[in-house]
C-alpha cells in the first residue's frame, strides 16, 4: 500500500525531494518495499512553473489541507520561516502524521513544543536535513554512537563562512571582497547576516546539543561571534603560528554543565578540521568508547538536503509499515542545560595589537595580562616602524573570557596601542 506524502512548500529543496523520490522509485519499491505517493503539495504561487511531473490537482495554496488530509501519513515541511511553519508542523503531529523538516531555525527557536508533540502523539519528527545537509550526523548521534557518552563536538557547521574564510586564506584577501565572491557564486545569500554572524551555526549547535547531551540548549544562550572582523593579516599571522582560522561551533560536557559557543577559532594545522575547505561542513565528535570521529560532506544545497529528507522519510516509512513508533530515544521532555556562563569559558587567545614601537610598551602590556593572571605563550613582532604602529601578536594560555576581556579593555586604552585589539580564540582539541 502506498504511503501518502504531503509537501508543505515546493522551493529548491522540495523540488529535490520530488526528483529523488521519482529517480529512486524503483529502488525504493523493489528493494525496500516502499511505495511513496505525493498526494498534496502546498505552494504559495500556483502560477509559477514547476519542473516536476506532478498532476496540477495535487497542488494547493492552503497548507492546512496537507496537515489535515487523512490520506497523508508523512508531511514534509520545506517552506522555511518560523511561526507559520511551527503551527503547521504542530497541527500535523497532532493529527498523527510523521513530519520531516530541514528547518533548523524553527527547531532551534521553537523546537521544544514540536519535540513534545511528537512524543505525545507517538509520531516521528525527522530533522536530519536541518544540520549539515546530507551528512547523516543526526542518525550517527542518535543511533550509531548510542554506546557512547558524548564528551565534546566541534563543527564547521556553516558552509558560507567556511567558503569565505577558505578564500580569504587562499587568496590572501580581506572579508568584504570574499563575501561578494561568495554571493556571486551562490554560496552566500543576498542578506548573509544569519550566516556571517554565527546565528545559523548556533542554531545547528543547539540541535546537536539536544542529541549529544540530551539537554535543551537555546541557540540564543550560546556565546556567539561572527567572522566579519577577521582580516587577511590575522590569517597570515595565524598561519605563521601553525593555525588556520575557522568558524567553529563547539560544545563540551564539563562535569554536569554544557559549554556551548560559536566563534572564529585558530585551528592547529594538523587537525582534520583545518583541512575542511570551501563550502564543506564537518563535525568532530568525541565519544567515550569510539574516541574522535569526523563526519564530512556538503552541508547545504538542493540534493544534499533532499537526500537527508528522503533518508528520514524511508526510516519513518519502514517503521510505519509495522506501526513501530519513532526511532531512537525520545527528544522531549529534556532538562534545560546548565550552560557554562560565557564569562567562565576558558580559551587561549590570539591577540593582534597595533602598537607604537617604543621601549616599555611590551612591558606595559605584559603587566596588564599578568594582572589578570593570564600567561603568555608566544610573542611575535616583525619589523620596525615610526609611523602608525606595528603589529604585535601575543598568544595566551587558557584564561577565562571575563579576565581576557578586562585585560584587553585596559590594553586597548594604552596610549601606545593605536587600534582596537583583535582577539581570536584558539582551539586546543
Amino acid at each position: 500500500m502506498a504511503i501518502g506524502i504531503g509537501l508543505i512548500g515546493m522551493g529548491v529543496v522540495g523540488g529535490g525531494v520530488a526528483r529523488i523520490l521519482c529517480d529512486r522509485e524503483r529502488e525504493l519499491k523493489i528493494v525496500r518495499g516502499l511505495d511513496f505517493d505525493i498526494r498534496k503539495i502546498a505552494i504559495r504561487d500556483p502560477s509559477k512553473p514547476r519542473a516536476i511531473d506532478i498532476s496540477s490537482d495535487r497542488f494547493t495554496t492552503d497548507p492546512m489541507e496537507v496537515v489535515t488530509d487523512p490520506t497523508i501519513q508523512i508531511a514534509i515541511e520545506v517552506m522555511g520561516g518560523v511561526d507559520a511553519a511551527h503551527d503547521l508542523i504542530l497541527a500535523a503531529l497532532q493529527n498523527g502524521k510523521d513530519v520531516v523538516t530541514a528547518n533548523k531555525a524553527l527547531l532551534a527557536e521553537r523546537g521544544d513544543s514540536l519535540f513534545e508533540a511528537a512524543v505525545q502523539n507517538e509520531v516521528g519528527l525527522g530533522f536530519e536535513a536541518s544540520v549539515c545537509g546530507g551528512i547523516p550526523i543526526i542518525q550517527a548521534l542518535s543511533q550509531g554512537l548510542v554506546a557512547n557518552d558524548i564528551q565534546s563536538l566541534y563543527g564547521i557547521l556553516n558552509g558560507t563562512t567556511n567558503y569565505i574564510l577558505t578564500r580569504m586564506t587562499e587568496a590572501g584577501a580581506n572579508f568584504d571582497p570574499m563575501l561578494k565572491e561568495a554571493q556571486d557564486k551562490g554560496f552566500a545569500e543576498a542578506d548573509p547576516i544569519m550566516d556571517i554572524d554565527g546565528t545559523d551555526a548556533a542554531q545547528k549547535l543547539a540541535l546537536l546539543c539536544r542529541l549529544a547531551f540530551r539537554q535543551r540548549v537555546s541557540s540564543s544562550d550560546i556565546l556567539k561571534e561572527g567572522i566579519s572582523h577577521i582580516t587577511a593579516l590575522d590569517i597570515d599571522f595565524a598561519r605563521e603560528l601553525g593555525y588556520t582560522i575557522k568558524l567553529l561551533g563547539i560544545a563540551r560536557a564539563i562535569d554536569n554543565r554544557i559549554e556551548a559557543r560559536v566563534h572564529p577559532a585558530l585551528v592547529p594545522h594538523d587537525a582534520l578540521l583545518a583541512d575542511i575547505r570551501n563550502e564543506f561542513n564537518a563535525v568532530e565528535i568525541v565519544g567515550s568508547a569510539v574516541g574522535a570521529q569526523v563526519f564530512y560532506g556538503k552541508g547545504a544545497g538542493e540534493l544534499p538536503t533532499a537526500s537527508a529528507i528522503v533518508a528520514d522519510l524511508v526510516a519513518i516509512a519502514e517503521r510505519r509499515k509495522v506501526n513501530l513508533g519513532p526511532a531512537g530515544a525520545p527528544l522531549a521532555p529534556l532538562p534545560k542545560a546548565d550552560l557554562v556562563p560565557a564569562d567562565d569559558i576558558q580559551t587561549g587567545s590570539y591577540c593582534r595589537l597595533t602598537v607604537h614601537d617604543k621601549p616599555g610598551v611590551l612591558a606595559q602590556i605584559a603587566a596588564l595580562f599578568a594582572g589578570e593572571n593570564i600567561s603568555i605563550e608566544t610573542v611575535i613582532q616583525h619589523g620596525r616602524s615610526e609611523t602608525d604602529g606595528v603589529p604585535l601578536i601575543m598568544i595566551t594560555h587558557d584564561a577565562p573570557e571575563a579576565a581576557m576581556r578586562r585585560a584587553i579593555t585596559r590594553i586597548g586604552a594604552l596610549q601606545a596601542v593605536t587600534e582596537k585589539p583583535q582577539i581570536i580564540r584558539i582551539l586546543h582539541p
Copy 2:
C-alpha cells in the same frame, strides 16, 4: 521484559561489550526502554580470570548452548575465525536469533549463506563492527544515504598499514623498522601478514561493495597489493610530486560493472584522505545526491569495536520490541558483481626506475611506454652518478594495468635499468 543476550567468545572485544552494557545500563533502560541481560557466555578456557562481574554459572565451554538457548534472543559472535563461527552463526539465525558480529573475514569469505539465512529466518545480522570499528559506516550506507546511487568509495580501511605508512612518512624510515615499531606499540600483530598484504582491507571492501552496490563481491576476486615493497625513497619522491602514499580500498561503479581494488596509492596532498594519520581509518563515499562525504575514526580496538556491536544490538532490540523485521534492505540474495578485470583497470602510475645515467636511456624507456600507448605526465631526475645508477621517476597518465605491466616488463629488461622498477598507482579522485 529483559532481552536475553548470548556471547560467543569473551576476548578483548567481548569484554568491551560487557563493559559498555554495564556502564550504560541506566541510559539504555531509562532513555531507550531496553533491558539487556547477558544470559550465557561461551568461552574456551573456564580457568582464565575475567575482569567482568558476571556470575560464573553463565559461562559455558559449549558455544552450541548459546545458539540453542530459548531465553537468548540476540547472539553476539566475537570468537573470530571462519568455519566454526560460520556454523554457530548459521545455527543461531536458523533458531530465530538475531546475530551481531565483528567478523569481517567470515562475512567476506562465507557471508552469502549467512545473509541468506538472516533473510529467510527474518532475523537481523548486524555487522557494523566488521568495517572501520566504531565508525557508523554500515548504517550510513544502508540507511543515511538511501537516497543516493553510490558512485564510488575510497577507504583507508586498515589501521596497521596506515600507521606504518604514516610513521615511514614522518620519520623518513623504511618499512621493516616501522613494522617493528607498530608491533611494539600494539598497532600490528605478531603475524601481520593479513594486514600488510591487503587481505584485511580487501575483506572490508567486499562488505562495503555489498552495501553500496547491492552486488556480491568476493574478497579473493579483488585486485590486491600490499605495502611491504614501499620504500622511504618512494615516499620522498611522492611528497616532491605533491602526494602522500596510502593503502587504499577503492570501489567504483562503472557502467554496469564494479571496479574493486586494494593497493598503495599516491593520494594528492589536498585530498582529505592524505591527512588521515596513524591508526585511524576513513572512508570517502561519493553519492549521486550528496556528492563526497568522508567518515573518519578509529577502525579497531576494544571499545570502538564494542561501540559498534552495541549500536547494532540497540537497533535490533528496538525493532524486536515490536516484532519489526531487520532494518534496511535485505542483503541476500544479491547478484554476483560483474567485476572489471584487473587487466582493464585504468590508473596513472608512479614509476621509479634505477638507471645508468647515460645518453639515450630516457629515449629507450619513453619509446617502450609509447609502444603501449602510455603517455608520460612528469619526469624527475636528480643529480648524476657514474656508479650504481640514479633514480628516474616517471608519472604516467591513466593506462590499463595490462599495458602498464607489459611496458614495465620490457623496461625492467633493459640493460640500462639496474633494479626492479617500482610501480605505485595514483589516485585521481
